[in-house]
Symmetry: C2
């Protein structure tokens, strides 16, 4: 399989962690988002949204959207599981993941920030926008798991929630957010970062890192 991604994309980063946890090797194809390579005609046939990641199967089938890709990986390669078995526990993990993947990340991704720039927003205000989005999202996430024992977001092993959290904390720091306000999230991040599957997926360790 081939993963079309970008070292800094937090959505691609989530999928890299999942592939590592499942011990799946894929070819990594970089689409340079800042150079607009995700809008090239050949890529839009893979992913009509012009976003990364896309997981390309050996038969040419294209899977898009990071959470959909990760659930597919979990259904076809169930060990180790990325979701609990109990429906209620699954719903809690998915809700946490979606608080990041729906309500946080897409509101501060490169496409939205570039649109704000095109509309005349000055760079400090663009950064403040991204910081606001991260503060709102991570503040809610901190509360969502405040009563969960940990050390990961939900229990003793990483789940889809941690796959979304770790890259989003990376974004938050990049936009100058003081993440010390989120001690429970940082505890989950520390547990995750001690695992090679997470450590090997960070942007600075990717072949296209700058």
């Amino acid at each position: 399989m081939k993963l079309h991604g970008y070292f800094r994309s937090s959505a691609a980063w989530r999928v890299r962690i999942a592939l590592n946890l499942k011990s799946l090797k894929v070819d990594h194809l970089a689409r340079h988002l800042r150079k607009g390579e995700q809008r090239a005609a050949d890529y839009l046939t893979c992913n009509p949204q012009g976003l990364v990641p896309t997981l390309e199967q050996d038969d040419g089938t294209m899977l898009t959207q990071s959470l959909a890709i990760i659930e597919w990986l979990d259904e076809t390669h169930p060990t180790p599981p990325l979701l609990p078995r109990d429906p209620l526990a699954r719903a809690k993990v998915r809700a946490f993941a979606q608080a990041i993947a729906c309500d946080t990340h897409p509101v501060q991704n490169l496409k939205v920030l570039n649109r704000l720039r095109e509309l005349g927003m000055a760079e400090p205000a663009v950064t403040a926008w991204a910081a606001w989005v991260n503060t709102e999202g991570l503040g809610a996430c901190e509360k969502l798991i405040s009563n969960e024992p940990g050390p990961f977001c939900f229990g003793a092993a990483p789940s889809l929630a941690d796959l979304c959290l770790v890259p989003q904390l990376g974004n938050a720091r990049r936009f100058g957010v003081d993440v010390s306000a989120y001690p429970r999230l940082l505890r989950a991040e520390a547990a995750a970062k001690a695992m090679p599957a997470f450590a090997d997926a960070t942007p600075d360790r990717q072949p296209d890192a700058e």
Copy 2:
């Protein structure tokens, strides 16, 4: 069960359709988003994000995030199914749903539009922002199912994809988008709207409709 929602919220609308398709009756509690009721202290203990919907179980357990709620409903009340059985087919349905629920709806929801207003954006530009987001999202969605036979987004029965599509088309029209550019989406919407489960979930049929 109780559904905390708002007649015009497209995320709550998705869950209303799912409940109707599963023939599940719940109490509907309106949280008036334009009056800020979703930020009341008692509601933030239910949903730390201050968003609707929240599905409150009889034992007080709170489920948040529309897609997580719908997947929980599908796992606990499997008939009729809202996702196919085949993992690859499930991934395609989820990716379509997430193209709306992650990359479209949250970038044009009330919270984001209000932030743009607070930052000094004039009302026509706010509407243009929301129209841009819908045009980008629905344009990609049209391509994602262009080769699917239909009449629904994916096949002969409604799925999670249709639950996301129908409310988003409602949003798009509200922001002045010319949806005639999306004939395949409109075909799926027409099939859906012929079903009472979809017809009874529209904003104008809710007790809190204005």
